[in-house]
Amino acid sequence: MSSPKLSLVSGHSSADSSAEPHCIHMDGFSAYYGDNCIVSDVNLRLPPKGVTCLIGPSGAGKSTILRWLNRINEESERASFSGKIEVLGRDVLKGYPDVTELRRKVGMVFQQPCVFPCSIYDNMLMGLRSRKLSKGEARSIIEQSLKAASLWDEVSHRLAQPASALSLGQQQRLCLARALVLEPEVLLLDEPTASIDPVSSRAIEAFVIEQGREIPIIMVTHNIGQAKRISDHVIFLCDGQIVEQGTRAHMFSMRSAEKTRTYITEEFCDC
């Protein structure tokens, strides 16, 4: 099955408008792990702002797509891909000979909160070390990022304490804030609310909606309700291929493809 080549460049339309700028452009993208093809012949264009949710059953290839956008999959020895990926108008391989430049532009937060074994402040400082900032500038960026992640009020009085002392929900918000200090031009979120409490989930959803107004956010989620709440665009994947993609209004309406409707309905029922 080949994926439909739809563009998502306008906020609520699924019409093709390739003249508009894209933050992400995939053409004939296939991803492999060893000899296994995980994602096959994916074509997509993502707009320069807004929240795009990747939904689909486990093993559909959502995280694989996400993990090639900042080449974090390169860390796996057997992972490879074919086809074309452009990020912010540059080829993801040739356009970014220094992969760290790509990763500073394309921030990522993973499913499991992962704080480094140091203080909250040092966690936030981790990504800033390559930038020559004064202490005051660094502190200001860190404060803004923590505020954006709704964490400042909870940690401002204990920035020197170990980050591992935070709750899981707080840790995940710290990860979001830590990604934000780099002032990324694209943000990738791989099921960021999968392992945390509902209160923190809501805080993260608010963060995603707010940040989505400024930069493109691509988020993998299994929570269909969440996708419905926060997405501007939705891409439905199954068995490594895009089944359908479109605006939120389209994807959650009766006009969507039967397979999409069935998946969305069953996921709702499972809840």
């Binding site: 900042n70 760290t100 992962c114 074994p117 140091c118 981790m126 390559s130």
Partner: protein
């Protein structure tokens, strides 16, 4: 049904008895050995024994130069091992991209770890003393001890690094950190306890070794603090060996027990330090 339950209870009791007996046997041997050394060696210990040089082939005097010789060699070995172990473990974890070569290297380290210490001594004798013509040198002894404990230190560091969840590396890489920065900021702080533990366990083994250094680094009598790299030293194990060869003399035997007690104390000190540092650094790494 109740018969089955009874059989299971008997089996449980038998199993528990076997485990307790194993523990008692091992513990008993250890207590007997250490107890013998403490009881027989304690009488020799005095400030004079610690701080005066040996006289009359060890029958009188103390063991100051033997203690200094042993410590000198293990400290030099530690200085040599530390960067090599760290570098090899980092290469294995972060730069060796070929799984087959990684596997072969790892298995080679296990094999090296199992080589009898006399083999290292013979290698030192042939290569350094005969081929390179270094003569009897404490530094050559330290190099041989370093080679001997290197696999232990590498494997301990490597295992500590391999135990770090991959998600840490991924998260650091996703923040735009270079490979070197990931190693410095993430890998090293969380695996340093492994390096220290491996090093200290290796040193605890090295300080008690006689065979690898007997032919290449030590003299049995008449040595003081070496003034250059190519002078011999006397160490506690070789001193004990020398005294044991004169065991018909009660004073020599008594001093042998005393020197053994000091040696056991040094080994226990290194092992205890390894445990302490491991627990401290591990808990810091988890913070």
């Amino acid at each position: 049904m109740s018969e089955r339950v009874n059989i299971r209870r008997v089996q449980e009791k038998c199993f528990a008895f076997i485990l307790r007996a194993s523990l008692a046997l091992c513990g008993g041997v250890l207590v007997f050995l250490l107890g013998s050394i403490v009881v027989k060696g304690f009488g020799s210990l005095s400030l004079d024994f610690f701080f005066t040089p040996a006289k009359d082939f060890g029958k009188s005097g103390g063991v100051i130069y033997q203690i200094l010789g042993s410590l000198l060699m293990v400290v030099a070995a530690a200085v040599l091992v530390l960067p090599l172990a760290l570098g090899t473990a980092i290469f294995q974890i972060s730069y060796n991209a070929r799984p087959k070569i990684r596997y072969v290297l790892e298995q080679s380290l296990y094999a090296l770890n199992a080589i009898p210490s006399i083999t290292y001594g013979l290698f030192g004798l042939i290569f350094f003393v005969n081929v390179l013509n270094t003569g009897i040198s404490w530094f050559v002894g330290a190099v041989i001890l370093a080679i001997m404990i290197l696999p232990t230190a590498i494997l301990s560091t490597y295992q500590a690094m391999a135990a770090i969840p991959k998600t840490y590396q991924e998260n650091a890489a996703a923040l735009g950190l270079t490979k070197a920065q990931v190693i410095r900021r993430v890998t090293l702080p969380q695996s340093f306890h492994g390096l220290v533990t491996g090093l200290l366990i290796g040193l605890a083994r090295a300080i008690g070794e006689t065979a690898p250094i007997m032919f290449i680094a030590t003299a049995f009598s008449g040595v003081t603090v070496p003034q250059s790299l190519v002078e011999p030293v006397s160490t506690l194990p070789t001193h004990i060996l020398e005294l044991a060869q004169q065991s018909t003399d009660p004073q020599a035997l008594q001093n042998a027990w005393g020197a053994s007690l000091i040696l056991v104390g040094l080994v226990a000190g290194f092992s205890g330090l390894a445990l302490l540092i491991r627990s401290r650094l591990s808990s810091e790494g988890r913070k």
